[in-house]
């Protein structure tokens, strides 16, 4: 046995790198659940107990999982479900209905989906499913017929729960909660939402029927924990085929996390957001730079990935503009400065640009009016400028009022990096007065 592991221990580097990519990608792309959810043990226990009682004792419950985006709400629920289904008894009896507020945008669709997921449509045979009212009656009838001890418990998972609260009359929520509070088929309603004020969305009757259990996922993650999480996310598991490669890799990750510059970058990310998704995004960028030639993550990779993550989208767009368009943007900036953010139109921008040409320019030539109009329209298409809401479409394009969608800092940053930007244009942009 030991001989065999020894033999296996020397996989070619290419092989190892592929394996590493595989394992880490599964982790970072949320394809695999962590063995144990970190930092949310009590919530995990609470939810597991709750669902177990529904699955095994037939007790109806309702609960909301609330937390900011990327806090691990769905992960928590999935972990709980995985653990719950390890119980044979629960596995055999529990029925699940997964709904998403973004998909089931009204109660009619939601009801159809519920019926489909509960495999109730078989009961009506090939009969085309009738009206919304019939649907509702059908489902309520189905749920009413059950009772606590004999019916299979049904788990309703409402992702983006807050969107269900916008449905007309909140019929679905009322009925689900009403069933959960009456002696009908046992159901557990689990809502997932990132809105902290979700209860205020519920109508008073619906609210009264909701059990007011909320599981909050608010991570009070410290930076050391954050660092530790980075390390665990990147480390290879013990079962890696090539133990020596794994050893090397893990050591590399450890030194990486100890690196001063890396720590700085991570601190910045930590300051910006604690959510797991943005961290995964960063690590994913690092991981994709790992190759056979460079089978480790170096601090430089992380810095580069961080630079990509923090890059300003709008400033990047400015890099692709022509000089004329850039000049128009600068003219708009000056107009904004002069008129303190009041909207402008094409004619004003053109005038500003002409002033610049007359006074300072030696590298720029005047353009025809249509050319400038075209450039202006291009900027509008890129949504760097947008028309003022109130302005009617009837006004001539030259006189339509516009607003600049860029911050000064973005413009200056773009100018700094713009390749071969004429000096006079740069000076014009920096000067306080047009």
């Amino acid at each position: 046995m030991s001989k065999r592991t020894a033999k296996d221990a020397h996989l070619p580097v290419g092989e190892c790198v592929t394996q590493v990519q595989d394992i880490l990608r599964q982790r970072l792309c949320h394809q695999r659940l962590p063995d144990k959810p970190e930092g949310v043990e009590s919530q995990h226990r609470h939810l597991l107990e709750l669902l177990k009682r529904t699955a095994i004792h037939g007790e109806s419950n309702s609960v909301l999982i609330v937390g900011p985006r990327g806090a691990g709400k769905t992960m928590l629920l999935k972990c709980v479900l995985r653990d719950l289904l390890e119980d044979k008894e629960a596995q055999k009896s529990l029925l699940q209905v997964h709904l998403n507020g973004l998909l089931q945008t009204d109660d009619r669709i939601a009801l159809k989906e519920i019926t489909r997921q509960l495999h109730l449509e078989n009961v009506v045979g090939d009969k085309v499913f009738g009206s919304f009212a019939e649907n509702l009656g059908f489902l309520l009838e189905a749920l009413k017929k059950g009772d606590r001890s004999s019916s299979r418990p049904v788990l309703f998972i409402l992702d983006e729960f807050d969107l269900f609260a916008h449905h007309k009359n909140q019929t679905l929520l009322y009925n689900l909660f009403d069933v959960s509070q009456s002696a009908q088929a046992p159901i557990a309603v689990v809502g997932i939402t990132c809105r902290l004020d979700v209860l205020e969305l519920l109508e008073k009757r619906v609210k009264s029927r909701f059990s007011h259990r909320q599981i909050h996922l608010l991570s009070s993650l410290t930076f050391t924990q954050y660092l530790e999480r980075v390390r665990t996310q990147l480390s290879l598991p013990d079962g890696f085929p090539d133990s020596r490669f794994a050893q090397d890799w893990n050591d590399g990750v450890k030194t990486l996390c100890g690196d001063k510059s890396v720590e700085e970058v991570l601190q910045r990310h930590y300051n910006s957001s604690k959510d797991v998704r943005s961290l995964h995004m960063l690590l994913m960028l690092c991981l994709s730079r790992v190759s056979v030639a460079k089978p480790a993550i170096k601090p430089a990779d992380l810095l580069e990935a961080s630079r990509l993550c923090f890059a300003d989208a709008k400033a990047n767009m400015l890099h692709g503009l022509s000089i004329l368009e850039l000049c128009l943007i600068i003219a708009m900036k000056h107009l904004n400065d002069v008129y303190e953010g009041e909207p402008f139109n094409h004619q004003m921008v053109h005038n500003e640009f002409k002033k610049f040409l007359q006074r300072k320019s030696n590298s720029m030539y005047n353009f025809e009016q249509p050319v400038i109009l075209k450039a202006f329209e291009h900027l509008q298409q890129l949504e760097l400028i947008r028309p003022v809401d109130g302005s009617s479409a009837k006004t001539q394009r030259e006189y339509q009022l516009m607003r600049l969608m860029l911050d000064h800092s973005q413009i200056m940053e773009a100018l700094q990096k713009y390749p071969q930007c004429p000096t006079d244009v740069k000076q014009w942009a920096m000067s306080a007065f047009g």
Binding site: L118, V124, L136, A183, R205, N271, A313, K314, A315, R403
Partner: protein, 949 residues
């Protein structure tokens, strides 16, 4: 409405004949029959006592069904009345009760009404026409006749439960001595039961005997009607035996039977003698079978005059008995023998001779066939045949045994005989007696019988598979599925391999039957049985291909249900779990504490309305969770109980909930469906309800309608509410409407005057529970399960009472507290009860806002952004700023904090995250840097949350 008046004008009601008796006390004359003639038409309809009639009601399409018990008029002859035994149609039974039936009701099914709330005296003028009613056994399938006017009775209905007909029968008075002439001798006093009860079993279209009938028969109760029917039955057997060599012996035996019957019921004698010559004539018409079959079909489809027509044809009793078709009417004619004299039937008369032919028909088509087509065209539902196949055999033994003891009971078994023998012989293929098969008519009969039986077999087979396919329990399946044993045997019959063993079984059974039969002293069966048990084999080997495979009929009104779990849910294990189960809102408490006054008010309101037979509205308001719906339900439970023990008249209770419908107008649909089981569109339902509540009906129960969440029934024109409140004010509606909503002033706020006025001023408001009440509620729920410390309960109650007074909230908190207690580390000093600390924790969990925690847990940039927002607000003196403005502050704050300046993208991301949590309120994100930002929490909260850092 128009239709009614027209009808009234056209009909003329007359007594026929002299009064049979005169009641001195009431000064009424009793008549034997009533003639209804229609103006301008020569034909008249005769209504006799004991006949089933249709009585006009609110629904023109479904007039009431009843059976005439007595006809009487006052001295002046102006008033013509009839005492009737009501039957209820399926549509008249409240939908909620229909479920008690445990199956889909047949559309033509009716139930013997045994409730007390209906007046059984009707104006004779309301009689529309006679109708054909067949009594079926409970287990028997419904025959599928295209004939819409034939109705079927299986069960009785006493406004609460369905019962077997027979169980009801003994309750009614014992049947009167059978009259030699039909009516006169009918005892006037308790006339209800005999006509309903006695004929019911005798007319049974299916040959299963009823235990109750048997019992009654055994006790010698059954007399004339039964006996005559039995004579008719004898005719059947005789008809068959006519074609046998043993005809002589058969007649001998039948006459012997007859003698017996006559001995018991002298009245019958005359008739029997009358009928005997008919038997001889029958032979002459043997070959008319084909034609007669067609006639039969015609007759079946032409309904109303059928009964009357049969009256004539029945005089020759023997023949009538022999004919399998008019079996249902076999009894009636005897009752009204003199009706035979009435030949006024215009259409019926020409048919008269033909009506005899069906009797001949059985020579070639076999009574079996006749049964088949008449009673249960196998198309009705694939399963029927099997039932049929199975039942007779099972029941036969018992019936036979009984017959042996009391010859009068021969009615049933005899009637069953043809079918029985055919069925049995199928299995006895190796029976040696082939000789009789040589007789031609018999063989033809056999053939058809074979055909039928093979069909049955085939369908059985198909159904067997089908049943496996859709085995998930829909209700109406039970009806057709024979008991397991039968199923087994019938399916086994299909398997050739097991034949031998089975056959021996069957053989045994037959033998035992034979012996029993011999004991009964009838000589027919022996030879006949043997001979009939000849051919059987063929049909099975050549299955009839004509029958298309029955398509799996999906039940139209299937009620779906969540599949049931394999293991039953676990029972609560310890005190805390027990307490939790009791504290769940869904658990129905033993009583409703703290709502005694409200309960009393609602109870007396509804009770008085029910007792008076009037209608009214009541409006109940109260914040959520104050027990409005629960109280009303409790009231209804109590009233229902009171109705069950006959303290108050029975009533319907219907419940609708504004939240459980998709559109206010669906209220009509739901009410109608609860009331009658009909499905209709909203408009149609509204019209039907309007008619139902707007018109008088001879019998009507009070309807109590609970409208929950009334405010959702609001429409712009408010017509739904208007109708709901208007119906109770109608004179005949007998409708009590209880409405529930949250706001006290809903009528004033959302209702227009004419609606609010109709709602009236009967209002009740449920106050939020006080802490004492909440405490009492929890205590009563816990019911001596000691799980909470006293103080803890008080804390919860006080807290909830201070916040909302919502009992649901209170129970939820207690439930959560038990959970916390269960998982808290065992404290050596703790009592194991839910204490203050647990309750505090639960309260905190439920009532504390997460905003502050959320701000504390936010990332540094997010916190900075919040600060920037506040700083910008302060600078502007407004509670709103654009992102661009806030961003300037944000950058400045970053510099102060010594952090790298953030980019716009980063700032926007932080802003969006805060917006997603609703710490900030944002404009749509497409506005980018121009979007406006507002705080969703107070500035103080933000500053408080950020201060500690």
């Amino acid at each position: 409405m128009k239709y009614f008046t027209r009808l009234r004008v056209r009909r003329v009601y007359k007594w026929r004949g002299e009064p049979l008796s005169f009641n001195r006390k009431l000064k009424t004359f009793e008549y034997g029959s009533l003639v209804i003639s229609v103006d301008g038409l020569p034909r008249t309809t005769v209504i006799n006592a004991g006949q089933h009639i249709l009585i006009e009601g609110e629904d023109e399409d479904n007039p009431y069904v009843a059976k005439v018990i007595r006809l009487f008029g006052d001295e002046s002859g102006k008033q013509k009345k009839a005492v009737v035994q009501w039957f209820v149609r399926v549509s008249e039974v409240p939908l909620s009760k229909l479920k008690l039936l445990g199956r889909e009701p047949h559309p033509q099914e009716i139930f013997l009404y045994q409730g007390r709330s209906c007046d059984d005296e009707v104006n004779a003028e309301s009689i529309l026409r006679p109708v054909q009613v067949k009594h079926l056994d409970r287990a028997a399938p419904f025959p599928d006749s295209g004939d819409k006017d034939t109705l079927f009775v299986k069960l009785s209905w006493d406004s609460k439960t369905f019962r077997e007909l027979e169980s009801a029968a003994p309750v009614a008075s014992p049947p009167p001595p059978t009259p030699p002439l039909p009516k006169p001798s009918l005892p006037p006093s308790p006339p209800r039961s005999p006509p309903t009860a006695a004929p019911a079993p005798a007319r049974r279209a299916l040959p299963t005997p009823d235990p109750a009938v048997m019992r009654r028969a055994a006790s010698g109760e059954v007399r004339g009607g039964r006996a005559t029917a039995s004579a008719g039955k004898v005719g059947v057997t005789e008809a068959e035996s006519l074609h046998l060599a043993s005809r002589l012996s058969a007649s001998k035996c039948s006459s012997a039977r007859r003698r017996k019957a006559i001995a018991r019921t002298p009245g019958v004698r005359k008739k029997l003698q009358l009928s005997s010559p008919e038997a001889t004539t029958r032979q002459d018409i043997l070959d008319e079978d084909r034609a007669s079959e067609m006639m039969l079909a015609q007759r079946l489809s032409s309904s109303p005059p059928l009964t009357l027509r049969l009256t004539h044809s029945l005089t020759p009793l023997r023949k009538a008995g022999a004919a399998t078709t008019p079996r249902a009417h076999r009894l009636t004619p005897l009752r009204k023998a003199h009706a035979a004299a009435v030949t006024a039937e215009d259409t019926a008369v020409p048919l008269e001779p033909d009506s005899r032919t069906p009797s001949a028909r059985d020579d070639s088509t076999s009574p079996q066939q006749g049964d088949e087509t008449e009673a249960e065209l196998p198309t009705a539902s694939g399963r029927t045949p099997r039932r049929r196949n199975a039942t007779p055999r099972r029941n036969s033994s018992s019936s036979r045994g009984q017959k042996a003891s009391t010859p009068s009971r021969q009615t049933e078994p005899n009637q069953r005989e043809p079918g029985l023998t055919v069925l049995i012989e199928e299995d006895n293929e190796n029976s040696p007696m082939l000789s009789a098969a040589a007789v031609t008519p018999r063989s033809s009969k056999r053939k058809s019988a074979q055909l039928v039986s093979s069909r049955i077999r085939k369908q059985l087979n198909l159904l067997e598979n089908l049943q496996v396919l859709n085995s998930d329990g829909d209700d109406d399946e039970d009806e057709f599925v024979p008991s397991k044993k039968e199923l087994q045997s019938s399916s086994d019959e299909e398997e050739e391999e097991e034949e031998g063993a089975l056959e021996s079984d069957e053989e045994e059974e037959v033998l035992s039957k034979k012996s029993r039969r011999a004991a009964a002293g009838s000589c027919t069966p022996r030879s006949k049985r043997k001979t009939t048990s000849t051919s059987a084999r063929t049909p099975r080997k050549t299955p009839n291909k004509k029958i298309p495979p029955g398509t799996p009929r999906t039940p139209r009104h299937a009620t779906p249900s969540i599949p049931s779990r394999s293991l039953p849910a676990r029972r609560p294990g310890n005190v805390l779990e027990e307490a939790r189960a009791r504290l769940h809102v869904s658990s129905v408490p033993e009583s409703l504490p703290c709502r005694e006054q409200e309960f009393q008010d609602v109870y007396s309101f509804v009770e008085s309305k029910i007792v008076d037979g009037t209608g009214g509205c009541m409006y109940i308001s109260g914040v959520p969770g104050t027990g409005k719906t629960a109280t009303v339900h409790e009231v209804m439970r109590c009233l229902q109980h009171a109705a069950d023990v006959d303290e108050i008249p029975p009533f319907h209770f219907i419940e609708i909930n504004g939240m459980k419908m998709t559109d206010p107008h669906q209220a009509y649909v739901q009410i109608l469906q609860n009331l009658t089981g009909q499905k209709a569109t909203a408009d149609h339902a509204a019209a039907l309800l309007e008619k139902r509540f707007g018109s008088a009906a001879p019998r009507k129960e009070t309807t109590v309608l609970l409208v929950d969440e009334l405010d959702l029934l609001w429409t712009r024109k408010q017509n739904v509410m208007y109708n709901l409140f208007d119906w109770p004010t109608r004179r005949h509606a007998r409708l009590v409407v209880l409405t529930i909503a949250n706001t006290m002033d809903l009528p004033e706020r959302i209702m227009i005057n004419r609606v609010a006025s109709r709602l009236g001023l009967t209002r009740m408001s449920f106050q939020p529970y006080s802490f004492k009440q909440l405490q009492q509620i929890i205590m009563s729920r816990l019911n001596k399960v000691k799980a909470f410390e006293e103080d803890a309960l008080q804390l919860v109650s006080r807290k909830v009472a201070a916040l909302s007074g919502d009992a649901r909230r209170c129970l939820d908190i207690c439930r959560r507290a038990t959970e916390i207690c269960e998982h808290s580390p065992a404290d050596p000093f703790s009592t194991g009860l839910v204490g203050m600390s647990h309750v505090m924790e639960a309260l905190n969990e439920m009532f504390s806002s997460a905003y502050i925690t959320a701000i504390r847990c936010a990332s540094l940039q997010e916190q900075l952004f919040l600060r920037a927002v506040i700083a910008e607000f302060r600078r502007l003196g407004l509670e709103e700023a654009t992102f661009q403005q806030v961003f300037v502050q944000h950058r400045a704050l970053c510099r102060v904090e010594g952090l790298q300046p953030v980019s716009v993208s980063e700032g926007l991301a932080a802003c969006q995250r805060l917006g997603a949590c609703r710490l900030l309120l944002l404009e749509p994100s497409r506005l980018g840097v121009l979007q406006r930002v507002r705080l969703n929490v107070s500035q103080d909260d933000v500053l408080f949350a950020l201060k500690d850092d």
